[in-house]
Symmetry: C2
Subunit: 365 residues, 2 copies
Amino acid sequence: MSGKTLIEAFEQTAYPLGGNGPRDIQVLKEAFEAVQGSLSSDMYGNGKVIEDFQNKMASVLGKESAVFFPTGTMAQQIALRIWCDEKGLKRVAYHPLCHLEIHEQDGMKELHHIEPILLADKDRLISLTDVQQLGEEISCLLLELPQREIGGQLPEFEELESISAYCREKGIKLHLDGARLFEITPYYERSAAEICALFDSVYVSFYKGIGGIAGAILAGAADFTEKSKVWKRRHGGDLISLYPYIVSSEYYFDQRIGKMAQYYEEAKELAAFYNECAGIFTKPEVPVSNMFHVYFELPEEKMVPILTSVFETTGVGLTAWLRNTDEGTCLFEISIGDRYANVPKDKIREAFRLLGEKIKEAAIS
Amino acid sequence: MSGKTLIEAFEQTAYPLGGNGPRDIQVLKEAFEAVQGSLSSDMYGNGKVIEDFQNKMASVLGKESAVFFPTGTMAQQIALRIWCDEKGLKRVAYHPLCHLEIHEQDGMKELHHIEPILLADKDRLISLTDVQQLGEEISCLLLELPQREIGGQLPEFEELESISAYCREKGIKLHLDGARLFEITPYYERSAAEICALFDSVYVSFYKGIGGIAGAILAGAADFTEKSKVWKRRHGGDLISLYPYIVSSEYYFDQRIGKMAQYYEEAKELAAFYNECAGIFTKPEVPVSNMFHVYFELPEEKMVPILTSVFETTGVGLTAWLRNTDEGTCLFEISIGDRYANVPKDKIREAFRLLGEKIKEAAIS
């Protein structure tokens, strides 16, 4: 035992399994290498660099118009606000573990005074029945695909179509939290535009599977996106120059959009390695995107020395962090990107053999 | 007459007089040239790259703590909201041409429901008397130094001290819109920290005189800046990575902070050239920073062909735009940066000689 923290041991591994690479300044440098210095900055939402990318993304998402935002937090609050204002009703529905509910310091409530109805239990997906049984009227239903906080789960596409049809019938706007939209296209075997066609408004992120620096797109009909620009200014998101994020988003989008099927296959392979080990399981058992959650049937305190030892012996980095649950287990999230393909398979097998042995020892002792 | 628009003619001049240079991607490339690619990104407001710069700016501004924001729009709404919440009164006072009143799509009102009292007439500065004669209680007074929309004017420092003392006595928080704070230190012959000492909270910008890409700092006591981080998350301003703006802000800060006195002297010189011409005057007559407004006693329609001809004949670019006033005059704003020093003086004199002649001709005809 080395006394190292998990993150210290992870950072020294030769073969970290998740992600595209370190989040360092090289990410920016690489994206800008081939860009001409004389290219003009965008200016408060206008100019070729932002308009071209917005048009490209509108086309990818099959929407009339798209607006680049510094964050999804800003884009999604604004989307919900526009739909609430349109209906004159400040009530929406979303999953209990929705990003707006747990990661945004209640911005939607504090700034927009929108009341959310939490649909479904926190450990399962929203179903058509949940939507049909809504007791109160709402302006908008937000669906997150995949549902990140439960390991990245997805409803069947037919269920999604039924929810969409029901919402249209009832005059409920349907908004897609598509932070990881590109990552689910291989499972659904449908294009981003085909999935987005079920929704009135869509947010996508460029620093998840795409691996950009930061930034988001909000897309929908032109009257919707025009309103979103006014709110973007109000929120303080209408920067004079967003090109550092736009140029890098486009660079990594072009580089990785064709790799989503590969990441998905690799995620399934890695999840299988975990599920073969006694004392470990994944959620979902078979991933439906490039991400999943890994559960150990031992608490963090017991798992840290085991993992540290596996990292140091094999050079394979499984995770930089763990989080205890209330049930005496602990978990972490992994998203597959460029790195996984570069790790020799025998190294991965060695790591899992050792991990299995050490968990068995710990369970006996 | 060439039929060119003013901006087209301006963009072809060899000697534009204002600013630091074109707002293009070279601004980013230059700032990142010497930075190691292995330097880690900031992560949601944490990490060396953001913390070091925040500490440096807290020290420059003489405040306990500082937080980097994507925009001043976001930083200032949040500052006012914190002061309003502290007093339990959602009312503030500021100048009628305050940025929050005219450039932010009413974000402060729409998102924070704060009511502003407009102090002073729109064509003059806020005085101590204005503050003393406030009919209603307020939580915070915002002063913009220099007052940009009236040419960049400043109260005498003693007036500022009196306003500050009065506000402290009355329990009114004083917030500085210091978008151009560094630019006024030569006129006041005081450091940024000495000026900020009169204020409870301060915002500064990095893409005015400093010439960075975008970004702002909000500074004050630590409990104030801690609260501002919560609101930054709520606004959608807590980006996973702000380093593209932070690294460039620091690079250009270091490069230009020592040049503010030079820009100020050059602004006075250029304003004198304008004021020597019949039919032209500047506001203020003698600049107190690197900026001022230029008024022509002819409307835009008459001035465009004159200016276009001066640009084409002399290669000196005076302005890319004009705006008509209600009084039959037209105006533009200029801010002096790196470019001015590189323009040969005889070129400038030639441009003003020709400008004077052409205005005289136009006045006769």
